[in-house]
Subunit: 387 residues, 2 copies
């Protein structure tokens, strides 16, 4: 148990994965709330919606129609944020003013990539929380297949697992572009209107791009530094420590751990951690793949049970880059982040605004309090649907 | 003009103040939006609301009553996130597991401080956008007074401007605690329900604390590095460059500049920059103080005019720490950030969610497009009230 004092006093906690601090103010939950109310998550939906661009057989913005798919289905995002082919000479600053000022202060670089959308089920009315671990495992397999199909042939991860999966083509670029080797693949899900999701059909996204972006980039630096200094993996050490401490653990099985990290920012933020060192999805054996799916089932169900609502969140996977130096790939540690905004009820969220944007992240309840509440939310999904 | 290409292709832009990148996808605004709608900003409010804890003469949660104040009024936050006095021995990790793991992975430090609330007007129904530059100047003066009253007597900034202002006391700690010297003061405003503000009475907050938090801390590092390497101030160079380039400038007067920074994250994010090197509010002479107020009046009015709504935002001031080594204070550059969430209309915002939380900030319209629209929104406030 941490010193009781951490439940009482304001303090800052250190996040060794990002090398940053977060301000914790445990006494602050007593504050009354008269501000914005979220609309509670929509639960009553039809199994098929003819206006949904993700349901089987329906038409999408591109004019393409979805096949009559059964479980998961992946296609290239019709409104991709990065694209495979573009006319992208570097922006050349004209070097105005005192030598080099413009080149230094107005830097831009073209970014190419490919964005996919991936449905989790043919059913419009389900969420991961409604799905069985066995069904979620098909999603984990699809993530793994897409990851494998984008690995550099030179990566030590290439060839570990076979897949017959071919990444979907974008209709406009079809055939034209030589597929490029990308550096980073970001697998994520935005769930719920509060997290900017505009279609309740269960789905996630995958953005693949030429550079390693900020968050995984800074995690990678800190993981490599720890490995170099201690000869061990930070997240393996951390998982072992938390298993011993218990108080931040929400759920565990043989291969994985669900916990509220010591340095969590969002009220009910959790992290899924493998117990052994896993570089990327491709390292998981069949049992581990199934146990990762169980953890996703467990946490999404507990989230929904907590405030008896369809709990909004953004989640995503950090793992080894698709291509890069060997020590980067070997130091990488697969883990899954869940960032949910709700704080007090189905309609009252935590706002990370003024102080948080201008100074640093601040949280009200402690991660230990959050973990204890999520432990108590186990069992069946409160709205269990007949399937 | 930047190369036309930046309006067309996906690219990353560099933020030299934070040493981070942001992904820009200009073509992505074409995406349809069927997601969450914000409720438009409330405009019809009474001049006085008997249930508002910020209106003159009303009672607050602490039991104290506000005086019958005329312009601005500051008091200690009844639900402060940091406090002056607390029983804060450091948390001592018990060093479990392989030597030092716990000490390294579970770090916490107590944080003390003082939080103020500051009303901008006695009138419940106004916002900064409704107020004249002359009225806003009283707010700027109050910020300056509070900043001065917390400066370390050893700071080169102490004694530059006089004030007779004494910081308000917290009722519970009154007299008991020796006032401590804090390092950082964060002045900010959360405006609108979309930015977690729960009371429309015009007001801001000031959080003062023992450590320099993440955001100003990383800015300070980059400002010091630039100063050391080039012998000049980054933000003075940057202001000069943007005045020459014009395309990102929204408004300027003799002493200040309002611009959409090259590296802006939020759709209509702006920065207020002095044209000469200013370390902190205390450096501003009377004219500059008035011209800063004019810039705040200009940008808040343009924001409201843009979508004809009471435009939500978080804004805040970065400036020299209250205490610290001389090169930190001399390299500090006063500037004001505005982070507004709206993207397309009074009800459709930009969500910085999945990809943005897990990978890096991403924006849809370019800062040049945003600046051009804000330039076109000048003139009178669309809903001009009779005062
Ligand atoms: O202090 P307030 O106005 O009650 O609260 C608001 O601003 C704080 C500082 O940015 C945030 O921590 C809160 O989440 C937000 O709701
Ligand atoms: O791609 P979508 O689902 O249309 O959009 C959603 O996710 C994106 C990636 O996190 C964000 O950039 C958008 O702001 C959000 O609304």
């Amino acid at each position: 148990m941490p010193n009781e004092i951490l439940n009482e006093i304001s303090h800052r906690r250190y996040n060794p994965l990002r090398d940053t601090w977060v301000l914790v103010s445990p006494h602050r939950t007593k504050r009354p709330w008269q501000g914005q109310q979220e609309s509670p998550g929509v639960i009553d939906l039809p199994q098929y919606d003819e206006k949904c661009y993700l349901c089987p057989k329906n038409k999408r913005a591109s004019g393409d129609s979805n096949p009559d798919y059964t479980d998961c289905y992946a296609f290239v995002n019709d409104f991709s944020a990065v694209k495979e082919v573009q006319d992208d000479q570097d922006y050349k600053p004209d070097g105005a003013g005192p030598a080099g000022i413009e080149a230094e202060l107005l830097q831009a670089k073209p970014e190419r990539g490919k964005c996919y959308v991936l449905t989790f089920s043919r059913r419009h009315d389900l969420t991961l929380a409604d799905m069985s671990a066995e069904e979620i495992r098909k999603v984990v397999k699809m993530w793994t297949d897409i990851y494998i199909s984008h690995l550099s042939p030179k990566s030590p991860l290439a060839g570990l697992r076979r897949t017959i999966f071919t990444p979907p083509q974008s209709p406009s670029n079809g055939g034209k572009a030589q597929p490029e080797q990308y550096r980073h693949m970001q697998i994520f899900e935005n769930k719920g209107a509060a997290m900017g999701c505009s279609n309740p059909h269960p789905h996630g996204q995958i953005w693949t791009q030429t550079n390693v972006p900020e968050e995984p980039g800074s995690e990678l630096l800190n993981l490599m530094k720890y490995k170099k200094e201690k000869g061990r993996h930070m997240l393996v050490d951390y998982a072992a420590l938390e298993i011993m401490k218990e108080e931040r653990v929400v759920y565990q099985n043989n291969s994985f751990l669900v916990l509220c990290p010591w340095w969590a920012t969002w009220p009910f933020e959790v992290m899924l951690l493998p117990k052994r060192h896993i570089r990327a999805l491709v390292d998981l054996d069949d049992t581990e793949q199934a146990e990762l799916a169980s953890c996703i089932a467990e946490i999404t169900r507990r989230y929904d049970n907590l405030f008896e609502t369809s709990f909004p969140y953004s989640m995503g996977i950090h793992q080894a880059p698709l291509e890069g130096p060997e020590d980067e790939i070997e130091s990488s540690s697969l883990h899954v982040h869940f960032y949910p905004p709700l704080l007090r009820s189905a309609t009252v969220r935590k706002f990370l605004v003024g102080y948080e944007m201008l100074a640093e992240p601040q949280r009200d309840i402690t991660p230990e309090q959050a973990a204890s509440r999520l432990r108590d939310c186990g069992g069946e999904l409160y709205r269990k649907k007949l399937k």
